[in-house]
């Protein structure tokens, strides 16, 4: 209930490896899965970045 993120640095960094693998003759389903995954990871990274920005706390 209280956790804020469940994607952490290492697997996110591994997304690049997965994308490279997907570009090497994998099936369409696999490629779509990995692209969706990359999109989700990028979205989560954007949220994480926003949490880094200064904001007044109340």
């Amino acid at each position: 209930m209280y956790g804020s993120s469940n994607i952490t640095a290492l697997p996110a960094a591994g997304t690049g490896a997965a994308l490279i693998a997907a570009s090497n003759g994998q099936s369409d389903v696999m490629t779509i899965t990995i692209v969706l995954l990359a999109a989700w990871t990028a979205l989560a990274a954007a949220k994480a970045f926003l949490r880094l920005t200064p904001k007044a706390e109340m």
């Binding site: 952490t8 591994g14 490896a17 490279i20 995954l37 994480a48």
Partner: protein, 399 residues
């Protein structure tokens, strides 16, 4: 709902009253403790306690040392077999004590037995605080300031870990620090009114009970004793009635962290299952949708991280693994966020945040809890841990 004979009182003379119920007398004893500010509201503090002889004195002391005093303090001993009552009675006239009678509904039942006896009064607010917690000195004053707005129905504490229990305690403390930061950044809006310490208007509690009796809100009683997580249910109830729930940054409450993995597992399974139960009982509404979306986001996140790990390992096995600069940067954003958001933790917490592995292990644990509870919920199994049912587990944790 509850009758006078369901609650017995002991000690400090309040049990010997003649024409009035002892708790109504307690409500009127504002001059005993008095208020050190101009704030007119009366603050009745209640500490439900089940075998809390060790930590109860610290909890009481933290209320007695507030910048704005509580009008009265009442320890509600629920089926205690240790010296809880004796300790509560040892504070003289400053602290009252009550014992529940025939309560089978744990903390919620204990609170309902007492709160249902309080007289209606628009100026009264109720502080309910766990016996294993301690509030910071300006807690009540800050809560009253927040409650000065009629839109605010309740003020929940922001909990911090007690710094005990080694690495496991530190990682929980780190989680609490991050949660507090998120609350602060969301303009103090409380996601959950923590059971560890919450101040609520008595009138709002009355509204909840009336709405439940009329069928406008799910559950029974002021504190819903059917709920696995009565604090989350209270939050949904108050928000459903149109009030705001806030957690100002000054309202800190120091609470125990779980000492071992099985205890932590039980606690988190109960929280997660309680959240699903409450959302299900409240149905789809503008209040529940944000919580439901959070559940979905967590689920997708867990699925994503599982697939990420699988693909990363797979790419290693087939010899196609290579670091890609752009994704390394994205990984760095996650890691930086973990460090920055956990910076207010103690040194152990900072080290855990900086070294990455502790966070990953903890996220994995929370992910297991989430998946386990959803599987249980979908198959409608009764919550059991080892030989302990959820009721027994809740009894151990919630007081």
């Amino acid at each position: 709902m509850f009758h006078d004979d369901m609650t017995s009182t002991k000690g400090n003379g309040i049990g010997q009253s003649g024409n009035h119920h002892p708790l109504s007398l307690l409500q009127k004893r504002e001059a005993v403790v008095g208020s050190s500010s101009d704030i007119a509201q009366r603050v009745l503090a209640f500490i439900p306690a089940h075998n809390e002889q060790e930590l109860l004195p610290d909890a009481i002391r933290s209320i007695l040392t507030q910048t704005v005093s509580a009008t009265s303090i009442c320890v509600i001993s629920d089926n205690s077999t240790d010296r809880t009552m004796e300790i509560a009675n040892s504070w003289g006239s400053r602290v009252h004590s009550v014992e529940t009678v025939g309560n089978r509904h744990m903390k919620a039942g204990a609170l309902n037995q007492v709160l249902s006896h309080l007289e209606d009064d628009d100026e009264t607010v109720v502080l309910v605080m766990d016996a294993d917690s301690r509030i910071t000195p300006s807690f009540i004053e800050s809560a009253l300031n927040a409650l000065a707005s009629p839109k605010v129905g309740a003020v929940g504490g922001i909990f911090v870990g007690d710094g005990q229990n080694g690495l496991l305690g530190a990682v929980q403390g780190l989680e609490y620090v991050r949660y507090a930061r998120e609350i602060g950044r969301s303009r103090a809006k409380a996601r959950v009114l923590t059971g560890t310490a919450t101040v609520t208007r008595l009138g709002v509690l009355r509204e909840i009970a009336a709405a439940r009796t009329a069928g406008r809100l799910p559950g029974h009683g002021i504190y819903n004793y059917d709920a696995l997580t009565e604090d989350f249910c209270l939050t949904l109830a108050i928000k459903s009635l149109g009030y705001l729930c806030v957690s100002p940054k000054e309202c800190l409450v120091v609470t125990e962290t779980m000492a071992d993995i099985p205890s932590l597992w039980r606690q988190r399974v109960r929280w997660q299952r309680g959240a699903i139960q409450a959302l299900h009982s409240y149905g789809v509404s503008r209040i529940t949708i944000p919580y439901a979306l959070r559940q979905i986001e967590t689920g997708v996140g867990i699925l994503a991280v599982t697939v990420l790990w699988t693909l990363t390992i797979w790419s290693l096995l087939v010899g196609q693994f290579a670091f890609h600069p752009a994704w390394l940067c994205i990984g760095a954003i996650f890691q930086l966020e973990r460090i920055v958001s956990g910076w207010r933790a103690d040194m152990k917490g900072r080290v855990i945040a900086a070294t990455m592995l502790g966070d990953m292990a903890y996220d994995l644990f929370i992910g297991f809890v989430y998946v386990w509870v959803w599987i249980q919920s979908l198959f409608r199994t009764r919550m059991v841990w080892g030989n302990i049912t959820i009721d027994a587990a809740r009894q151990k944790e919630s007081h």
